[in-house]
Symmetry: C2
Subunit: 820 residues, 2 copies
């Protein structure tokens, strides 16, 4: 009575299918896998051990391989041949630089409709309950919005106050020492402050929760796409992210606090959805458990991410789109409204709180942390300016691609050589010191004096060597937070910044931006991207003003071109999706000027995409996260479900021995197992009855829901017991079973999902893909004509087919799956 | 050798399942349908005729019914009992007022991957072709945008010129006759012009293409949801829609040209996608056929609808969302970008063309036909104003619900009593005459004179009885197009319009709006809704100004409150989805003021939804279009696929007699038939092989792809032959077959879809629903454990379960399917 396994191991089949893209299918390869005969099955079932895989060549080859290693040998000998055939179809050979990492699991967006669930649902079989459940979802969304807004306002307040204090101090020493020839003092002080704060921030992130590094947006996007990312939505990540981003900005790094807001908002949402607080000492306080499943939590996280973006940029529509476009397969109108509601609440509350911080809570003029809306003139544009904008978009796309390439190389280098915790912290400190040193050097080196009042009346203006109420022009760019710097570039008077200092600024900030993104600190890339673009956009504006000296409105041109430059640069680096476009337009606060912004975002995206993927996609790629694209790659129509599935299967019978379950969980990495009918005529080949998840089996083992054969199995388990373990399920190694218990039998009938989605073996890949994408599946069971399961398709089996465009031509790749 | 049918007829089973919502399932009913035994099958197969259905009661009832009528009798006797049980679960009994109409078919969004398709795809098996196909889709989208913009500009130009001419003429007689006491002259002239033009417009729509009546948005939304609407996207509809809307506006009806733009844009898109022009004389010119399937055409139509909205409102983002939110199951990033591209092109081109019409093509200040952006001040708001806005939103929601209820009653009345063509035309003429008469009466009756210059310097200002360079205040509202009226209400000086005339205007326009919407003319409801709201919003603004007489900026308040009122009224009538919100915000051109607009739209929606559905949803409901909601209704977890499916099935064998095919197509209304294995052991119970569509069979019959038994079947048909018939497929009555041909055999193997989506009988309704919604299915085959088809689920089987909320509680209904 053992769980059945047949055929070769999973890994080997996957290696075969690695090379079967496009019109090639496994049938065309010169060997095939034959199922193990029934006699052998009998044998296997009596002596439970891994069966010997058997492979037969086609008759004309007439050779037989007996084990796994030989397949690999065979493959390498056949490799050139396969490559050649792939090339006939214009498909490039697999590039092993890109891979998927097997440790990323998928979310279970599909509801397991087992007996327990249906019993639980009985409670809600009234209109009152349905209405109540509906209302409580809206209520949770409301508090997600409020929580995100509170956080945004708090971060804003702390950063502004402390940063102002820091830069005031430096300015004081600057101005003093310029007269007394002790400029080494402010330099050392600046570098020292940066070093200490940044090292603290880096240590916090590195030791508390490394998932809090970076902007978090690639992770959140992957999560919404359906990938489970351990540690992403925990309290530790929240602390590391929020405190970390304050420290990063105070530490003088070229980063913003807007990206991390999306991550923080998501954590707030997940926490509120789960209704439970996990303290560091392992204690938990639980409030409610109704929403503890991947489906509901993910809906809330969509709201949280939207709220975060909304309160960061004052962009409720953009925020809503941001979180919905990744989770598009699951978009529905009701969810959309809830997400929109939560981001509107966040925007409104942030507006109220920041207005209150600024002195007048009823004015409501600050819907987000960063806004471009302070133009003192109407943004208008003329048809003849469009070619200039397009030219700028091309520049932005090219520079963005360069940014991505450089950051990619750096990331790979870091992953390979700088993977020790202490090295990460030292690198962060180094960047902080260099940032300060370079800023100091520029300010002293390019001693550009101006007497034009800066845009921000609270700006810290160091005079350094300047006299006559003049001040150093670069001080409004460097003695401030990156947001302040961006605002200065957009709105400072025409004459404030000279061409030389702007060129230097662009170069420095570009390099620092590349270097900073990917450090083990909590940091966003929005603001530095915008600042780089605004600086060179300002340069273009000055050039245009120079060409047309009779232009009455120089100020207008400079601000306008700086804004367009910022959009171009952002588009080139991040490759705006439709949501990013909306975010920028909402930030600009002027829709008629939205049209040129949309045009440049689109063109810079095209130019950038011609060369590389976007920064976030590059991140996801480097981490090997198996996100699913929106459509099946082209040229894959001939692939069948049987070509991509993992086979043979590990299956359970409806009544299964505890020993077999325990062993299978230990030996296999699958997260779902088909349950089959116990057919004495064909052991291990029974009809499909359902699908049971690893997490469910672990809970059942832990709660000891089994009994000696023939007795009535215990039923003292409810759906709440499963929810209590959400989302951190048990590990099989944590479960202790006595030898007697191992001989018991577990009745799986009440627990498995009796109607899993299935397809027939000859289903084509595009249709399998649509199923996965459209329904957010994790497992899809492949059956033969008699409804007997023969394999299982998982997200990774599909995510390994990737399509991209390179230099205008479509490119298809197949990624390798790696264990790390 | 006949096609197999077994059990009772479809209609009877459907009537049983009509009453099985919620926790009730068919198994609980006191009788069950037994499959016909194999012997009877043999008999049926020998004498091909409709088999006698057989029904058995449970043992305890011990009775046997022999035909269909008895089931109905049984049902009516059991009806009270079932109703009582339904009420236990808080479910209301089915309301037969609401129903689905069986003539609406579904789109085939799913690709039929038969041998022909795969052969056709072979051509494209290279990167060059993939890239080319990708490029050509972008190109088509580009021309969709350009075409829509050209149309928008043309309509704008014609309407503005002719309307100005008309109203100038009337004004002339007005001013002359006021002195000479011949006011009957302008009155008669006004009514006469309106009558003639409107009757022409109504006749055009009624006789050329009745689908062009109304705004077209409900139809387009249904189409994007997946319902095939015959005649909607034809050249006739285009002419009727575009010429019709010009005539409607010139005819003085209370309607706008913005709604119809979405429909016109969709028709342009469908035409460009099909690459073919059908002339009225039956001749066609064909350019390309690669995109002739429902999948591609629907993607293009999404772009067309977006372009239409975009060029009407200057709202590229709103337009994109508009077309994507209905088709949400099929959202993907690439399509989103294409749709966005096309609406941006439309917006830009419209901007250019209208700027050119206005004299300076490079100014680019008119991105759409209607804009609210001409405020001469910055729209700012304060926290204390929010409660006033919320109060207005409640008013807007209530008035909107009243509008919907009144229009609903009127629509039902029209459907019942005014369904003759000539009555429709007379009614339209009557409305036009009344509109003119009422406007005339008000202008003369409320003789309000003002000397403030109107906002629009080109406005027609009749003095009537006014002297001293004063003019009649109402003339800027009535002697203009509805758009001009809206602009006047938003922007005219504070003192221009008195309270009395505004109250009268609201009442009159409300009644006229209700009466006009649903006439057999091409007309949109956006502008009248906005105008009603702007008028009472202006009243509120005047009230607020009155309460605070020291307010320095009266003008601001009036305009601001008028805008909020317009948004509230629109939200109350149409129940804005997220896209409508974005459209209004884009129209307003001021994002910081977007926040209060979003709030009032949301609240007016909530208030309205508490009472009725929105206007468009009401339209869809009255027409009985089976649109699928976004989620399965609650309380349906216990329903299984076997409860909702249509059974028994009409199936074909892989090699089927032409006679059987011909007869089945004539007798059955199904659009898809499962193809089964020819199993001699169990005739009609073979394993599922695939799914073939009615449209495919008709083409095969027409092209005579069959041969005597035993011979090699002809294969002289390609996928292009099928595409040539798209989208107007043949009717079975058009096909002529000789008796000899009827005895031939058709081999279906190359033509059926070999891997249709299937589910097992015990699949729950929510999961079946997700499959349908997520994949845009038309047919879902239900199989038993042995992979033998036992039933089929169609869109209508699912669309009949409707959920709504009524007075705060969730309400579930089951609609009846009616033949009309």
């Amino acid at each position: 009575m053992s769980a059945s396994r047949s055929g070769v191991t999973v890994r080997s089949i996957r290696q075969i299918t690695v090379f079967t893209v496009g019109a090639l299918s496994i049938q065309e390869l010169p060997f095939h896998v034959t199922p193990v005969s029934e006699e052998e099955h009998e044998l296997n079932n009596r002596v439970p051990s891994r069966p010997t895989p058997e492979l037969k060549f086609d008759e004309d080859e007439g050779d037989t391989l007996s084990n796994h290693n030989s397949i690999t040998a065979l493959l390498s000998s056949k490799f050139r041949d396969i490559q050649k055939r792939l090339k006939q179809y214009g498909i490039e050979s697999p590039r092993f630089r890109k891979r998927l990492v097997s440790r990323w699991e998928s979310l279970n967006y599909d509801v397991c409709e087992n007996v327990l669930y249906l019993k639980d649902q009985e409670k809600y079989k009234s209109k009152k309950w349905v209405t109540l459940r509906w209302l409580s979802k809206w209520l949770v969304m409301f508090f997600i919005g409020i929580g995100t807004a509170l956080l945004a306002a708090a971060i804003h307040f702390v950063v502004e106050k402390l940063a102002h204090f820091k830069f005031d101090l430096i300015k004081h020493y600057f101005d003093d020492c310029a007269k007394n020839n002790c400029l080494y003092q402010p330099a050392l002080m600046w570098m020292g402050i940066n070093l200490v704060i940044t090292v603290a921030g880096a240590a916090l992130v590195t030791f508390l929760q490394p998932m809090a590094a970076g902007s978090g947006i690639p992770y959140i996007k992957s999560y919404l796409n359906g990938v489970k990312i351990p540690g992403l939505l925990t309290f530790r990540a929240f602390v590391a992210k929020t405190v970390g981003v304050v420290l990063s900005i105070l530490g003088g790094l070229a980063c913003g606090k807007e990206g991390p807001m999306a991550h923080s908002g998501s954590i707030i949402a997940a926490g509120l959805g789960r209704g439970r607080i996990n303290f560091c000492n392992g204690k938990t306080v639980s409030f409610y458990s109704a929403f503890r499943n991947d489906h509901e939590i993910r809906d809330f996280v969509a709201g949280g991410a939207a709220s975060g973006v909304s309160s960061a940029f004052g962009a409720p529509i953009g925020g809503t789109l941001f979180s919905l476009e990744e989770a598009a397969s699951f978009w529905n109108q009701d969810l959309t409204w809830r997400v929109f509601f939560s981001s509107m609440v966040a925007c409104f509350a942030t507006n109220f709180l920041i207005s209150a911080i600024n002195g007048d809570p009823t004015k409501l003029t600050d819907p987000g942390l960063i806004r471009f809306n302070a133009f003192k003139f109407d943004l208008k544009f003329d048809l003849i300016e469009i070619p200039v904008f397009i030219f700028m978009a091309v520049i932005g796309g090219l520079m963005g691609a360069l940014f991505v390439v450089m950051n990619y190389k750096l990331t790979v280098f870091r992953k390979r050589y700088l993977n020790k915790n202490w090295i990460k912290i030292i690198e962060a400190g180094l960047v902080a010191v260099v940032s300060a040193a370079v800023a100091f050097g520029l300010m002293v080196g390019i001693n550009e004096c101006t007497d034009k009042a800066p845009f921000d009346s609270h700006a810290v203006t160091a005079s350094v060597y300047c006299t006559d109420k003049k001040y150093n022009g670069l001080s409004t760019l460097f003695l401030t937070t990156p947001e302040g710097c961006l605002k200065a570039l957009l709105h400072d008077p025409f004459e404030s910044h000279g061409a030389v200092s702007l060129v230097a600024f662009v170069l420095i900030f570009f390099v620092l931006g590349v270097w900073t993104y990917g450090l083990s600190v909590s940091s966003g890339v929005f603001i530095p991207s915008l600042a780089i673009g605004a600086a060179w956009g300002r340069l273009v504006g000055m050039g245009v003003a120079h060409l047309m000296p009779e232009n009455p409105n120089l100020q207008l041109d400079v601000g306008k071109f700086a804004l367009i430059g910022a959009a171009c640069q952002l588009g080139g680096i991040l490759r705006t999706t439709i949501s990013l476009t909306v975010i920028i337009v909402e930030c600009t606060d002027d829709i008629s000027f939205g049209l040129p912004i949309m045009i440049v975002l689109m063109i810079s995206k095209w130019v950038g995409d011609f060369i590389t993927t976007g920064l976030y996609d590059m991140n996801v790629e480097v981490m090997g996260i198996p996100t699913l694209p929106f459509e099946c790659p082209p040229l894959c129509d001939d692939l069948r479900a049987s070509d991509v599935m993992s086979a043979p299967l590990a299956t359970f019978k409806t009544k299964e021995r505890v020993e077999n379950i325990y062993r299978m969980l230990k030996e296999e990495t699958f997260c779902g197992f088909p349950v089959i009918e116990d057919d004495p005529m064909a052991p291990g080949k029974g009809k499909l009855k359902g699908l049971i998840l690893r997490s469910q089996l672990l809970v059942l083992l832990q709660k000891k829901i089994f009994c000696p054969e023939g007795q009535v199995p215990p039923r003292n388990i409810t759906i709440k017991d499963f929810r209590d373990f959400y989302p951190v399920y048990l590990k099989v190694s944590e479960i202790e079973l006595s030898d007697e218990e191992k001989s018991y039998v577990m009745d799986l009938k009440p627990y498995y999902n009796p109607s899993p989605y299935t397809v027939e073996q000859k289903f084509s890949l595009p249709r399998v893909f649509n199923l996965f994408r459209g329904l957010g599946l994790r497992h899809l069971i492949v059956t033969d004509e008699k409804n007997v399961p023969v394999g299982i398709v998982t997200r990774k089996d599909l995510a390994k087919f990737r399509v991209g465009s390179k230099r205008g031509l479509v490119k298809i790749e197949q990624l390798k799956i790696q264990d790390i």
